[in-house]
């Protein structure tokens, strides 16, 4: 029969086709399995980020300087929404926002997968709005700065996506940052979750908060420092100013204020308007210090033994000139004859200092300044610290040796000044300035205690203790009691310090700007056992109102010193009061 074979041939062909289809399935499901698994992951999985909170930043007395606050954010997935009008109307009604705005925004971003609708939504509203198709609610952390602009430069701020952007926030970003984790879910075509990728519920490691940082700063001290400085800036119509308060024995920074400042909460807007607000003058500025350098150079000279305390130096009647170093005059054209080391500091004689510089010579002066920390960074863990400028000795001219001793031809930072002053206060021992007291883990338990910073590095003396003690207790006390620093006198405590009035060098590098000064004052108290060191530096005060360190910065130092010492005493610190109530 012809019929039967024909049917059987057709059937055999079909069996062959089916066998080939089995081979095709084998190829797809076995050989190309991995490729299709990868492809399916792309389309069929949804990753839900769980962002860990950023670590807290506390001051030395455990006050919150920066912390994350949970915020519910409502977002939509525009590409999943079919009826834009109805959806936006529903959203708008619950969130009490304009339906038209929502509708327009969704339509404008029709192809996107994520569009933020409203931040900081109440919990009840979030639950209701979450039920609308295509709408989601996610928990985010909003960085808050309860102290406002009080510590803006030190603490810094974070960007919108939670990255540290300056200050401690930037410096310890890796540490502070929370550990995020992604929950991987299988999702349907509208990105709705079906179930967890893992069939068995595995204990989640979860998101973790970042580590916290405890600073040495004290918000109380910081607040009166800022207040006093701001007052003076206004009074003298100055361009900017900075003030630093340090515990000289440990190098712990208690306050660091730079004005003008910014509000970390609105940092992004302010950055766009005026980026100059973000300069931390205490850290980023380098300037010729002026007379404030004199005690440091004097200490180097006494330490090197090129002069003695009793020796009188002839101050040339107000004009000292010679080959190779030009002519040097005293401030306000005063004329001095024979002055001791102490008198040179009290009267702030430029010529006396220049002669001491000449006696030291290039090498010893340079080495001494390096030992005191000039010309290199203090290593404080904040970004943007300037290095200052100390030329190497072989680049020095006759001018350098005679000018550096009274603070010209050298460029320093506030941090360098305060560190060298702390060395003097600390009887010649090196001090490491620091801002971070400790790190705490996400539960607030101390984790890494940075013990290196707790006490001064015991690297030995860079200045003879005797010399350092004499400079502080004798010479600089006299500066405050009898000399240019009289405005920093306090009734209760013996203050020691040195003024500095420096002209601002022209940007061209030749000469000085007319009438532009940096008025500085560095001081410590109480003499004998210093508990606090304060540096105040005010840039470009109005020349007509006053411009000397003593006049502009002195009163600020006095106020800060008084308040700080009273505050410390109230906290139980034993501080030595003045022995005699009368002024010497």
């Amino acid at each position: 029969m012809k019929r039967l074979p024909a049917i059987l041939v057709l059937f055999s062909l079909l069996v062959v086709v089916f066998s080939l289809l089995i081979l095709r399935c084998f190829d797809l499901q076995y050989k190309q399995h991995d490729r299709f698994v990868k492809q399916s992951i792309k389309a069929q999985q949804k990753r839900i980020p769980h962002v860990g909170n950023r670590g807290i930043i506390l001051d030395g007395r455990a006050r919150i300087l920066a912390a994350g606050k949970p915020v519910l954010t409502v977002f939509v997935e525009p590409r999943a929404i079919v009826d834009v009008k109805a959806t936006s109307a529903a959203i708008a009604e619950i969130l009490k926002i304009g339906a038209h705005t929502v509708c327009r925004e969704i339509l404008e971003n029709k192809h996107r997968g994520y569009l933020e609708i409203k931040r900081d939504v109440g919990y009840e509203e979030a639950i209701v709005v979450d039920r609308i198709f295509g709408v989601g609610v996610e928990k985010q952390w909003l960085r808050t700065y309860p102290m406002g602009s009080l510590l803006s430069h030190v603490v810094g701020f974070t960007t919108v996506d939670g990255k540290g952007s300056c200050g401690i926030e930037l410096e310890y970003d890796a540490l502070l940052r929370g550990h995020s984790h992604y929950e991987v879910l299988l999702a349907d075509v509208s990105r709705r979750p079906i179930r967890s990728l893992l069939r068995a519920p595995v204990q989640r490691s979860g998101s973790q908060s970042g580590q916290g940082v405890i600073l040495t700063l004290d918000a109380t001290i910081q607040s009166f420092v800022r207040e006093c400085l701001a007052e003076q800036l206004t009074a003298f119509e100055a361009e900017s100013g900075h003030a630093i308060v340090v515990h000289p024995k440990t190098g712990a920074i208690w306050a660091m204020v730079s004005l003008p400042d910014f509000d970390p909460t609105h940092a992004h807007r302010q950055w766009a308007e005026n980026p100059r607000l973000f300069t931390n003058h205490a850290l980023n500025d380098q300037y010729e210090p002026g007379s404030i350098m004199k005690p440091m150079v004097m200490a180097i000279a006494l330490d090197a033994g090129v002069i003695s305390r009793e020796e009188k130096i002839f101050c040339e009647n107000g004009l000292y000139h010679g080959k190779g170093f030009g002519s040097i005059k005293e401030y306000n054209y005063r004329k001095y004859q024979h002055l001791t080391a102490k008198e040179i500091l009290v009267k702030s004689s430029n010529i006396g200092m220049a002669k001491i510089g000449q006696r030291l010579g290039k090498k010893r002066l340079h080495d001494g300044l390096v030992r005191l920390g000039f010309g290199h960074k203090t290593g404080i863990k904040l970004s943007g610290e300037a290095t200052g400028l100390l030329r190497s000795a072989d680049q020095w001219t006759g001018y350098s040796v005679t000018r550096i001793p009274f603070g010209q031809e050298i460029s320093v930072t506030a941090m360098q000044l305060i560190r060298s002053f702390c060395i003097l206060c600390n009887q010649g021992r090196v001090v490491r300035l620091h801002l971070v007291k400790a790190f705490v883990d996400s539960n607030g338990l101390p984790e890494v205690r940075d013990s290196r910073f707790e006490v001064a590095d015991q690297v030995g003396y860079v200045i003879d203790p005797e010399v350092a003690k004499w400079i502080v207790d004798d010479a600089l006390t006299a500066v405050v009691n009898e000399g240019t620093g009289h405005r920093a006198q306090l009734d209760k405590w013996q203050v020691f310090g040195k003024t500095g009035t420096a002209q601002i060098a022209r940007e061209s590098g030749r000469g000085y700007e007319e009438g532009a000064y940096v008025a500085s004052f560095i001081a410590g108290a109480p003499a004998g056992d210093p508990a606090v060191v304060v540096l105040v530096s005010i840039r470009r005060p109005n020349r007509k109102l006053g411009y000397t360190g003593g006049k502009v910065s002195g009163p600020v130092v006095a106020k800060i010193m008084d308040k700080t010492l009273n505050y410390l005493e109230a906290r139980g610190w034993a501080l030595a009061h003045k022995e005699s109530p009368e002024r010497i």
Binding site: L4, L21, C25, Q29, Y30, Q32, H33, F36, Q44, D188
Partner: protein, 386 residues
């Protein structure tokens, strides 16, 4: 006296294979109908394809066994054409096909008018007349070839009238359901080839058929798009080839053993038509290569059993009818699996017994019922002691 009868008779084996296939189909239609957003609502029982299938499955078994009790020779023209069921079936099909084309009565699904929906109580019975037309034309061809003694000699008196009947069906279907129309043409071609038509008879309308095929192809832009997408799937993976791509992803990600029954992901909206034409991909995803191979092996077993029925059939009509039924079912299965595995361009052809949908399942079950009756009769004529 106890008669010694063969256990595992041929008709029982075919019934078992078909029931296993329908059971697998029911399970996977239920699985594929899962949706994240919707919970099962028993008040809307008939709107849920998975639940509907649970009703259709026993109904299909009932239809299959009922028809297996009816002598298939009632379909033959041996007693005269108008005494058999076949012409009535043809007329019914034509009427239903005509109804579908009337806009007020036919229901449009996916831009094609293929369905009749009859509301009965809470349920809406959806019926696809082209399914019925397919079987009617097979029955008709088997009957008419047998009537002509498997010798179709005259082109004008024999071949052309047969072609005219089939052509009428194809013409009514082609506008709305190109796939089924082409499938009927292909089936008819095979049936006539086997049924004694001459080669040159069969080849003579071929240019016309081919011309019509290409005209239809170029008339509809989305058919060309589909073919383009089939040839270059990477360029169209988001648009036309989306379904094919998703089908491959479903199959491929299943791997050797699959993700486990019910654990598939593609069914959650990623793969369109997952309960109907692409249910095979869901089987591949959830049961892996093992599942897909098993299903294909069941179809091969069905062909094997079918060929035994054909061999054992004594008369030409039964032989051609059985052959036609087995051919129609397995060819359709092969085409569907070819589409799902992207060996063929995307075409809406359901997988017999497995795809969701009542009319396809019930009508296929009815056809198998006829096959079972043929198988029974081969057994009855065999010696009882074998």
């Amino acid at each position: 006296m106890l008669a010694v009868r063969r256990i595992n008779r041929l008709d029982d084996r075919i019934a078992k294979i078909v029931i296993v296939l329908m059971a697998i189909g029911t399970v996977f239609v239920y699985s594929a109908s899962a949706d994240v957003g919707e919970e099962l609502n028993l008040k809307r029982f008939y709107d849920h394809p998975g639940l509907r299938q649970i009703v259709y499955f026993p109904l299909a078994c009932l239809v299959m066994f009922t028809l297996s009790a009816i002598n298939h020779r009632h379909l033959s023209f041996a007693q005269g054409a108008w005494r058999s069921f076949t012409p009535y079936l043809l007329i019914l099909s034509l009427i239903l096909l005509a109804i579908v084309l009337i806009p007020q009565l036919g229901t449009q699904v996916n831009d094609a008018r293929r369905w009749i929906r009859v509301p009965i109580g809470p349920a809406r019975i959806s019926f696809q007349p082209s399914e019925l037309a397919k079987w009617a034309s097979i029955f008709f061809l088997a009957a008419v070839c047998a009537k002509n003694n498997f010798q179709i000699k005259s082109f004008w008196k024999q071949f052309l009238p047969i072609c005219a009947v089939v052509g009428a069906f194809v013409g009514m279907i082609i506008a709305e359901d190109f796939g089924t129309a082409a499938f009927i043409v292909l089936l008819s071609f095979c049936m006539l080839l086997v049924g004694g038509a001459k080669w040159w008879h069969l080849l003579s309308p071929l240019p016309l058929v081919l011309a019509l095929f290409f005209v239809m192809l170029y008339q509809s832009p989305h058919r060309i798009e589909r073919i383009k997408a089939f040839l270059h799937p990477e360029q169209h993976s988001d648009t036309t080839a989306y379904q094919a791509t998703q089908s491959l992803v479903a199959l491929g990600s299943g791997g050797l053993w699959g993700k486990g029954l019910g654990n598939g992901v593609s069914k959650y909206g990623h793969l369109p038509e997952d309960t109907t034409d692409f249910v095979f991909a869901i089987i591949g995803e959830e049961l892996g290569l093992v599942g897909t191979t098993s299903v294909i092996l069941l179809f091969i077993a069905f062909i094997w059993m079918g060929s035994l029925v054909v061999i054992r059939s004594k008369d030409g009509f039964s032989q051609l009818l059985a052959g036609g039924i087995v051919l129609a079912i397995s060819l359709q299965a092969a085409l569907n699996i070819g589409v799902v595995t992207v060996v063929l361009p995307t075409k809406g052809i359901p997988l017999p017994f497995l795809s969701g949908g009542g009319s396809s399942l019930l009508v296929s079950a009815a056809a198998v019922g006829v096959l079972l009756n043929i198988a029974k009769q081969t057994a009855d004529t065999e010696p009882a002691n074998s």
